[in-house]
Amino acid sequence: MPDAGAHAQLPEPGPSIKAVVLEGPDISRAITRMAHEILERNRGADDLVLVGIFRRGVPLAERLGNEIERIEGVRPPVGALDVSFYRDDIGIRQPTEIGATDFPFDVDSTTVVLVDDVLFTGRTVRAAIDALVDFGRPRAVQLAVLVDRGHRELPIRADYIGKNVPTSHRESVEVHLAETDAADSVLIVEAP
């Protein structure tokens, strides 16, 4: 257990930033590389669909889609998935905002690349796979994340990783994207 001394300190006005892991251009380069890896592994963009996990997986999936279009000339369909109703901590943790789920395509016989910002315990991805199979039977499901911070609690791994960031449990990883936040950055902060 954390020592009592932590409680004795005055609370910080905000989370304290310990490190800037990725800045704007780094994120763009990581996405470009991941787009290449996705195309290489799947030999092109045929039958490929990208599904962003709400919230920040959604703009990341859009960006990957844009990169794949720039490289390959075709844009894979991009969907959005909210996993709130499939989580295993319903009733234990206060829920966060629920986003729209939008599948403007059929997932049967496609290769689905799930996209999220941070891979941590793996529980969100577990929920996402459960949600996904309610929509059909993809030929394969792959996982792309901008940051893998470790500490998995389930046998899940990512196929495409923007950056591996070793962290402690007391830290948290914050991903900021221009679409949802002010600008692009990935930070390690001391957990509140």
Binding site: F85, I90, I92, G136
Partner: protein, 338 residues
């Protein structure tokens, strides 16, 4: 969110907004091939209906089932234990003993859900009590209105007909005012409650004069079973003066919509042609009812930190066998029991 939903009065504008927003996501679930999510797996919802109801009961049942909760129906009729003389309280304790997580109750007596909530640990949802309230109807009505108008602020909603006996009207007036809309009660003086001033609501007795000013016309069901009270001379006369027909519909603003809580008496409060118009959103209300009830169950059963905050409370309710003595030692007993 809240433990029980007995009156729509309990809900703040923010909570209503949360329920309606989450209902958007459940609307989407309702459009899928597999219309079921595992959200409330292992929870049990009991529909306890002492009054005949088709749509509310089925709507709640579908809502619970689509959340993967288990549903049991207790219909208080000649075939149930009620006919053997079981009291409301005994029924409540029986359900409590069986370990249900939520009870949706409909009863002809106003206040029955409140009493029930004091006897059981389950969440109680008012599915209509006497002439008091029908909060989930008001929520699904708000949701349906919200699909057609960008904001509730200042929307003029005419609630037409038998306000006197209508729990739907009461809940809607409260809910509409909570979100900043402007309800107007319309009907013959005999069907408007006598002490209506205390509601502080605009009242109109001339339907045709008020129709052009409305954004929503909400028709109440003319309750045939109340005809012997002689509040209107006949249903035919009611239809002639207060029914919404095509001619009267022509007085409405082009963007105005027509609503009805169902079941409709076609030819009485609404003519068949009007009920089938595009601007009549009565079937949307039914569809939305399932999504809104899913959202409510999710917020009431799924969100609460049950393990941490819902210990058994011996001695707090008279319904409990353990009385008095344990009450003061609650915090100590909590950990061991929970």
């Amino acid at each position: 969110m809240i433990k029980h939903l007995l009156s729509v009065e309990q809900l703040s504008p923010l909570q209503i907004d949360q329920i309606l927003k989450t209902a958007d996501s459940f609307r989407e679930v309702g459009t899928r091939k597999i219309k079921k999510v595992p959200t409330l797996r292992g929870r049990t919802v009991c529909n306890l209906f002492f009054e005949p109801s088709t749509r509310t009961r089925i709507s709640f049942e579908l809502a619970a089932k689509r959340l993967s909760a288990d549903v049991v129906n207790f219909v208080g009729d000649a075939k149930s234990s009620l006919s053997k003389g079981e009291s409301f309280k005994d029924t409540a304790q029986t359900l409590q003993a069986m370990g249900v997580d939520a009870i949706v109750v409909r009863h002809s007596s106003a206040g029955a859900p409140l009493r029930l909530s004091r006897w059981v640990e389950a969440s109680v949802i008012n599915g209509g009590d006497g002439a008091h309230e029908h909060p989930t109807q008001a929520l699904l009505d708000l949701y349906s209105i919200r699909e057609h108008f960008p904001s509730f602020k200042g929307l003029r909603v005419g609630i037409v007909g038998d306000v006197l006996h209508s729990r739907v009207a009461r809940s809607n007036v409260i809910a509409l005012r909570t979100v900043g809309a402007h309800p107007i009660l319309v009907g013959p003086p005999t069907l408007i409650p006598p002490a209506i001033e205390s509601w502080g609501v605009e009242v109109a007795h001339d339907l045709e004069a008020v129709l052009p000013t409305l954004d929503v016309v909400y028709l109440l069901r003319m309750q045939r079973e109340r005809q012997n009270e002689q509040l209107v001379p006949s249903l035919r006369e009611y239809a002639a003066f207060w029914g919404l027909d095509l001619r009267r519909t022509g007085l409405l603003k082009p963007e105005a919509v027509i609503m009805h809580p169902g079941p409709m008496n076609r030819g009485v409060e609404i003519t068949a042609e009007v009920a089938d118009l595009e601007r009549s959103i009565i079937t949307d209300q039914v569809t939305n009812g399932v999504a809104v009830r899913m959202s409510l169950l999710y917020h009431m059963l799924g969100v609460e930190e049950r393990r941490a905050e819902q210990p058994r409370r011996p001695g707090r309710d008279s319904a409990q066998l353990a009385l008095g003595a344990d009450a003061s030692e609650e915090p100590a007993g909590v950990v061991a029991v929970g």
